[in-house]
Amino acid sequence: MNKVFPNARTALEGLLRNNMLIAAGGFGLCGVPDRLIDAVRDSGVTGLTIASNNAGLDGEGLGKLLRSRQVRKMISSYVGDNKEFERQYLAGEIEVEFSPQGTLAERMRAGGAGIPGFYTPTGVGTLIAEGKATGEFDGRCYLLERAIVADIALVKAWKADTSGNLMFRKTARNFNVPAATCGKICVVEVEEIVEVGALDPDHIHLPGIYVHHLVLGAPYDKKIEFRTTRLREV
């Protein structure tokens, strides 16, 4: 089965529809599936619900889909640094479901592992707990959180082989692994595609069984949201 597509548009062809649930990797502008987001924007689908740690910046990352008004709801842990999101939210044009960062990661991981829900102590006694069932274990209260199973997962990885076995770099791995596993269909963009056997099996971060479609996204103009450096002492 061929998983490699010539570009992001063809990798997503026939997979997108209005009102679908998308899980996307990324943390700030790090490890964001930019080519695939561009292709979703160009497809014109609307009413999207997107589960992603952040909502992108103004005009960057998922911010592109906010600007084009294709998003109905975000499931995120943090939506700051984005004026357009703020404007749409305050105007009642977009819905947000806040999910604490570790809870969001586990909701995706659970969805990918076939686990419909789990108990966590995070958020007990806060707004996050509203409307959620609770359980007591060993004298402590926990919230029942539901797993996320997305219609499609959009993922950015570093390297892939043609079977879709993936490697990530540094913190760009972030939510990409749990997002990939929770998608009914997982579409991945990478910086390099190599032949099967070229990657050391011990170095694979995500097995190719989770990956359905693959596209080479290079070359990348890697953006850094806030650049912080130090000077060498002389």
Binding site: L29, R169, A172, K222, E225, F226, R230, R232
Partner: protein, 72 residues
Amino acid sequence: MSWTRDQIADRAARELRDGYRVNLGIGIPTLVAIHIPHGMTVTLQSENGTLGICPFPYVGEEDAAKATARYL
């Protein structure tokens, strides 16, 4: 006169003790990484899950794949 962000981070860093494992949350806390007292060994954890992160890169050695919670 109010404190600068670096002064706040420096003051917070003085709360650290040798051997601590330290979670750096979003914002000013990430600046604590560059104010760890000399000779002290602590293990830092960043909000997005990395363990054992190090001080900020030298100019010219920035890497878009390395992010912490703000002040990448």
